[in-house]
């Protein structure tokens, strides 16, 4: 998780607590030998170049080739509604295999929280952990009763399934996938929401960036070590957001 040559705050040892352990470890080793160092074999140069999709101008745009979904079987629930989503055309299978049947759940969970969940209809125990993030690892909130939400969920099948989340007080659409396609494959999920011109958007993880993210920024979520070029460590910007 860290490179030994990096300036290292987090992975260095606290002098007082670790010396005894290391002393003990060294006692069983010859004192003059050097630990073998791993060297990347020369054959690594022969590996095919890996061009991230976002930097590949020839990458297929899922929005142009995938069919989207159609919502059916809408049923009211105590907290919102559920519906079934079916592929609206031939599968595109562009970055995986299209999942033909999905379940949509919309829950007004609290006055300050609307939950929208789309999961495959048919999940086996063998692949459940791939699609379903266990609440024991990342918590799921509880649902309150008799919720008066500040938000409103609406949806359409024209031309394919899309949904919009609006602020009730103003009618402002804060999130809308209208005019875009939902892409849901076993190795690729994509959804697109419209944003206003010159939007002010903040957050999206840990990185060295001005607070306002700007409108041509791509954020890749892979946890990584500190970059070598700059001396910095993690800050969770979700707690650092600018006041409105």
């Amino acid at each position: 998780m860290w490179t030994p040559t990096a300036k290292c705050l987090l992975a260095g040892c606290l002098v007082l607590s670790t010396c005894a352990a290391i002393e003990a470890q060294n006692a069983s080793r010859p004192t003059t030998s050097y630990a073998p160092q791993f060297t990347i074999p020369a054959s690594a140069n022969d590996a095919p170049p890996v061009l991230p999709n976002i930097r590949d101008p020839l990458a297929v745009d899922a929005q142009t080739v995938c069919p989207g979904y159609i919502a059916t079987d809408v049923q009211k629930t105590v907290t919102g509604f559920i519906a079934a989503l079916r592929l609206a055309g031939a599968p595109c299978n562009v970055y995986g295999t299209d999942i033909a049947a999905l379940n949509l759940t919309v829950e007004y969970q609290a006055a300050d929280r609307l939950h929208v969940e789309i999961v495959p209809t048919f999940i086996q125990p063998s692949n459940a952990s791939y699609y379903i993030l266990p609440p024991s690892l990342v918590p799921k909130p509880s649902v309150e009763a008799n919720v008066k939400s500040d938000l409103e969920f609406s949806w359409t099948n024209d031309p394919t399934f899309a949904f919009t989340v609006s602020r009730k007080a103003t009618g402002d659409k804060i999130f809308s996938t209208a005019g875009t396609k939902l892409v849901y494959e076993n190795q690729f999920i994509e959804f697109v929401s419209a944003l206003p011109e010159n939007y002010n958007l903040y957050g999206l993880g840990e990185s060295i960036h001005g607070l306002r993210l700007g409108n041509n920024f791509t954020k890749t979520f892979y946890a990584a070590d500190s970059p070598d070029t700059v001396d910095t460590y993690g800050v969770a910007p979700i707690t650092n957001r600018t006041a409105a």
Partner: protein, 162 residues
């Protein structure tokens, strides 16, 4: 730069600014420039995708495109209407940060490349000499794992930090 670091936080806050007319109707402001004398109001909301797989989030001039290579769509929307409410709503979902031990808030000294214990001792001694409070000293393990003549083979004894 701009690369993700240790943690992933697939969530964002968006703030929209408006001008208000006499009857209270809001008009979205899309300019980055402020007009003097105009009263602005703002509304903020938050979005959180509960997904632990690798993701690309593409901010583009007129949309946000969210791509993930696994998991599900598990979205939470927080109406705000301002940043503190959005943050509070978000924390209700993901939980509060862990409390830190008190000593972690103290002054920490770190560097790497010590070749012997005397250099480390000098650093600590200088803090004492100049009466600078020092809570912790960190050094990089590198010196220990690769050099049998390094720090670890000498018993440093207790290091005074006050």
């Amino acid at each position: 730069m701009y690369r993700n670091l240790y943690g992933t936080h697939p969530s964002y806050l968006e703030t929209r600014y408006y001008t208000t007319d006499a009857s209270g109707n809001l008009t979205l402001v899309t300019s980055n420039e402020k007009t003097p004398g105009v009263n602005y109001t703002s509304l903020s909301h938050g979005v959180y995708l509960r997904n632990a797989h690798g993701q690309d989030v593409l901010l583009r001039p007129d949309n946000i495109t969210w791509r993930t290579i696994g998991g599900s769509i598990d979205l939470y929307f927080f109406p705000g209407p301002s940043q503190p409410e959005v943050t509070a709503s978000y924390l209700n979902v993901v939980g509060l940060p862990a409390l830190q031990q008190f000593w972690t808030f103290g002054f920490h000294q770190t560097r790497w490349g010590y070749t012997n214990i005397s250099q480390l001792q000098d650093v600590v001694d200088n803090y004492s000499k100049f009466k600078i409070p020092l809570e912790s000293v960190w050094y990089v393990e590198d010196a220990l794992s690769r050099q049998s003549h390094g720090l670890a083979n000498r018993n440093p004894g207790p290091i005074s930090t006050t």
